[in-house]
């Protein structure tokens, strides 16, 4: 390995010319204080040792804090213990780090050295050798050359390509559980099921719902589900609102889906599925906090701003004999974000092909 050092007197002649200029060569080496002054040298050594000392103290602080300090249920005490250990670790680490760097900067030899580079390309000889070796191997095996065996090669490649499937097929096949993607299209809402408060599950009377109020709703019986409770909740959550009936523009075909200004919409955003729940009473706008899609509740929850395209699906509701609000049916379309086969699960004939849906304000 040809290494040279930068000189204390004269730089080596630059061998390279560029734009007519000669490369001036390496700069002179400038000695540091510690290189020439023995006192500075001693001082740097003491400083470095002190920094390593800081690290040792830090380690003691960290372990000591862990052993000596008690954590109670108070958040403050927990914070304090963690902070004390953390500062110990900080000192333990930074002491070593700064010590090593100080040592390198002040005391280790700092003459820059030069090493030649060699082109990465292998020599022609080596390349020819490599090609020859591969050729010989191909010849020996029948992969190439005169005695090429195409049947063997073809069957081997096919086997190699197919074999991973033996592993992947069962693996991937199992990962999707029952693959029943039609679940996307339905929720647990059924005819006559009561709308109940989230999270305690108490039913809601029509008379409880005053104008301007909003209720976060889950279906009756959700809390008692043994399986898939959270999956069902993720689809079935509803917002129940009451507007002044004069403000509410009932959508064609949905005149009997609400009750005296009480109206229910899916809470799952039609953009990518966050819960939509910032309700502005004055404007009747619902805002999704994730990407700010804004839905106009007074007009069938149509999109008035943001990245969502479709209105929030409406849950048809009625009032039962005891005055509780109940669902008339499941949603008539899949709730939440769009997907390829969404329209297959849409049953009310109200999908966006006809002009009644969506908005353009």
């Amino acid at each position: 390995m040809s290494t040279t050092e930068n000189p204390t007197e004269h730089g080596p002649e630059g061998s390279e010319k560029q734009n007519g200029f000669e490369n001036p060569g390496l700069p002179y080496h400038r000695p540091r204080r510690a290189d020439v002054d023995p006192k500075a040298d001693k001082k740097a050594e003491r400083q470095t040792a002190a920094l390593f000392g800081v690290s040792i103290v830090g380690t003691i602080v960290a372990i000591g804090s862990y052993m000596a300090l008690d954590m109670t249920d108070e958040i403050d005490s927990i914070r304090f213990v963690n902070m004390a250990i953390g500062i110990g670790i900080f000192l333990a680490m930074i002491g070593i780090g700064l010590g090593a760097i100080h040592w390198a900067k002040t005391l280790m030899r700092d003459h820059e050295m030069v090493e030649e580079r060699h082109a990465l390309r292998s020599s022609d000889e080596a390349r020819e050798g490599a090609i020859q070796n591969l050729k010989d191997g191909a010849e020996d095996s029948g992969l190439g050359g005169v005695k090429r065996r195409p049947v063997l090669i073809g069957s081997m490649l096919t086997a190699l390509l197919a074999a991973p499937l033996a592993l992947l097929w069962p693996q991937i096949g199992n990962m999707g559980a029952d693959w029943n993607i039609s679940n996307f299209g339905h929720t647990m809402w059924r005819k006559g099921m009561r709308l109940t408060r989230d999270p305690d599950g108490t039913p809601i009377k029509a008379s409880d719902v005053t104008i301007g109020s909003a209720f976060h709703v889950i279906p009756e019986g959700l809390n008692e589900l043994e399986h898939h409770k959270i999956e069902e909740k993720a689809k079935a959550v509803v917002l129940l609102l009451r507007l002044d009936p004069r403000d509410l523009n009932l959508q064609p075909g949905r005149e009997d889906w609400s009750f005296d200004g009480i109206i229910a919409f899916s809470k799952i955003c039609t953009h990518v599925g966050c819960p939509v729940a910032l309700y502005e009473q004055q404007t009747h706008h619902l805002l999704c906090p994730c990407h700010q899609s804004t839905f106009d509740v007074a007009n069938g929850a149509k999109v008035v701003f943001g990245p969502a395209k479709r209105p929030l699906p409406q849950l048809p509701i009625a009032v039962d004999d005891e005055g509780y609000i109940v669902a008339q049916s499941d949603f008539h379309e899949p709730i939440g974000p769009s997907y390829w086969t969404r329209l297959h699960d849409t049953s009310d004939g109200l999908h966006a092909d006809d002009d009644t849906e969506g908005s353009s304000h």
Partner: protein, 541 residues
């Protein structure tokens, strides 16, 4: 004592060498040279924060329970008493409030993750702007690019593990985006979640991904990355004595080992300090995942924010009349999800991955490049880089538009309208301005070479005029300003040969020429020796 230690060391060395012939490697590596520059530490910061991630992560695995089984909370935190939550969330609370140092380790881990991603991105920017990706380092650029993508995967999978409301909403968004993929999206969603969202298996799956698959891949690729850095030998900035054929620096052992090794402890120390003082991701304030409650201002970690910004930016209705969700033959195609969440990041990252080749086509240069560019000497590349950063920053700002709107009392919707236009205009503007600044700096360099440095000393000439004295540059100073290549646009062979036959590959050449013109049509050449001689001649009159 000293002598005994020496002989023990020699004995050990002999023992190992006789079984591994490691002596050759040590001889080779120990005095390997590394050029010194602060910007070469960015890659190191990425490496060190990754090590911190591994160390703190091992601590966390001892307490974290990757399970979505629902339990009732019964611990010291009064606000969570009796709340139903997954074991994942409960174990996160346990680790934070009942394990001394547990909260600290969580915070070290999270801060280190933020530093890791930030270091990778700035390291990548350094490599981009200095042209360190040019031959022979294109493949290492690809390795690095893959590492960047993996770091996003590592970050996102880790962020999701505690199963709190914020990370749950993040997963919900991923699920919505996945489902929007035509034909197979619904199946991919089922495949990831093991059924419907959120299912009961996702956290264990993410856990395996987060602590085994992704870090394993990162580890292997880091090894490959650093192996290639060794093989290529590090690049260097221009300076006297530095050429494309040599490397000037300090030896790996001891100087570089001490500096770089020491720097690891500095990075670890600083992360520990920040983690000791600043709370991050206080999941106990957010609560366990529940599909119903919302909190305003849900923000992912910074490195994912651009996707969130893109999702916010894209309107559901273009100009309020053209729907961005199409229904064709009974199937639904959601451009409002596909474009911002998949197509746009795909193009952005695809362009980045391929960039070394794009530039190689434009320059037509086949030589190895070991001396780095000063960014001003590659105005178009620098312009493209700043445009990409601007594009990214617009998305990040749109991703925090609610915070910005609050802070400056702006209308959220107006801000979004502004960014919808800005996403097209601002990067173009950034490109144009940056290129101009580069040209300006290049002109200034020429001035310096031709007329020397201003000294501030004013003298009066015999015939009465006042002039400032200019001091000529030293050879060293001048070399830095004139050492770069003056690249002209590609010349290509004509379309038809003498016999009027159309040449094969002509179209491809035309494309490269077109690209090359974009890069080099307008350029400012470095001063040549003749020009300088002439200027000096002139100056003496």
């Amino acid at each position: 004592m000293g002598a005994r230690l020496d002989s023990a060391a020699a004995g050990t060395a002999n023992y190992i060498d006789e079984r591994t012939s490691i002596g050759g490697f040590v001889k080779f590596f120990a005095r390997k040279l590394f050029p010194d520059h602060w910007s070469f530490m960015l890659g190191e910061i990425a490496l060190y924060s990754f090590i911190v991630l591994l160390l703190s992560g091992v601590f966390l695995t001892a307490f974290f329970v990757p399970s979505m089984t629902i339990v009732e909370y019964d611990g010291p935190l009064a606000t969570m008493q009796g709340v139903e939550m997954s074991e994942a969330f409960a174990s996160t609370l346990h680790m934070s409030f009942e394990v001394p140092g547990g909260l600290l380790m969580r915070q070290i881990h999270h801060w280190a993750a933020l530093l890791f991603t930030a270091a990778i991105v700035t390291h990548m920017a350094r490599v981009f702007f200095t042209g360190a990706f040019r031959k022979p380092r294109e493949l290492n650029w690809l390795v690095g690019f893959t590492l960047m993508i993996l770091s996003l995967a590592a970050g996102f999978s880790g962020y999701s593990l505690p199963d709190d409301v914020l990370s749950g909403n993040g997963l919900r968004i991923i699920e919505g985006v996945t489902r929007s993929i035509p034909i197979v999206g619904e199946y991919i969603s089922y495949w990831i979640f093991g059924g419907e969202f959120p299912g009961e298996i996702l956290i264990p799956r993410l856990f395996t991904m987060h602590i085994l698959l992704v870090p394993g891949l990162i580890l292997v690729l880091i090894a490959l990355h650093l192996f290639l850095v060794f093989l290529h030998k590090h690049t260097q900035y221009p300076g006297g004595g530095r050429t494309h054929k040599n490397v000037v620096g300090l030896p790996l052992f001891p100087v570089y080992t001490a500096k770089a090794g020491g720097f690891f402890f500095v990075v670890f120390g600083i992360v520990a300090l920040v983690a000791a003082i600043f709370t991050i991701n206080p999941v106990w304030n957010y609560g366990p995942y529940d599909p119903s409650p919302v909190s305003a201002g849900t923000q992912p970690d910074w490195y994912i924010l651009f996707v969130d910004g893109a999702l916010r930016l894209m309107p559901g209705w273009l100009f309020d009349v053209i729907p961005m969700e199409w229904e064709i033959w009974g199937y639904t195609l959601s451009w409002n999800l596909l474009v911002p969440a998949l197509i746009l990041p795909g193009l952005f990252f695809g362009f980045l991955a391929l960039y070394p080749w794009i530039e190689a086509w434009a320059t037509g240069d086949r030589g190895e490049k070991h001396v780095l560019d000063r960014p001003r000497n590659a105005p178009v590349r620098t312009g493209i880089g700043v445009a990409l950063i601007t594009f990214y920053v617009v998305l990040v700002m749109e991703g925090s538009n609610d915070i910005i709107a609050n802070l400056f009392h702006l209308s959220l919707n107006d801000l979004t309208y502004f960014f919808r236009i800005g996403i097209f205009v601002l990067p173009a503007l950034a490109f144009w301005i940056t290129r101009r600044i580069c040209f300006g700096l290049q002109r200034k360099d020429r001035e310096l070479v031709l007329h020397g440095k201003e000294t501030g000393r004013i003298v009066r000439h015999e015939h009465g005029e006042y002039v400032e004295v200019h001091e000529p540059l030293t050879d060293e100073e001048r070399w830095v300003l004139i050492q770069h290549d003056d690249i002209a646009p590609l010349e290509i062979e004509p379309e038809f040969n003498d016999r009027g036959v159309r040449r094969k590959g002509y179209r491809w050449d035309r494309f490269k020429q077109w690209l090359s013109r974009i890069y080099f049509e307008k350029r400012i050449s470095p001063v040549t020796a003749e020009e300088l001689a002439e200027a000096q001649e002139h100056g003496h009159h």
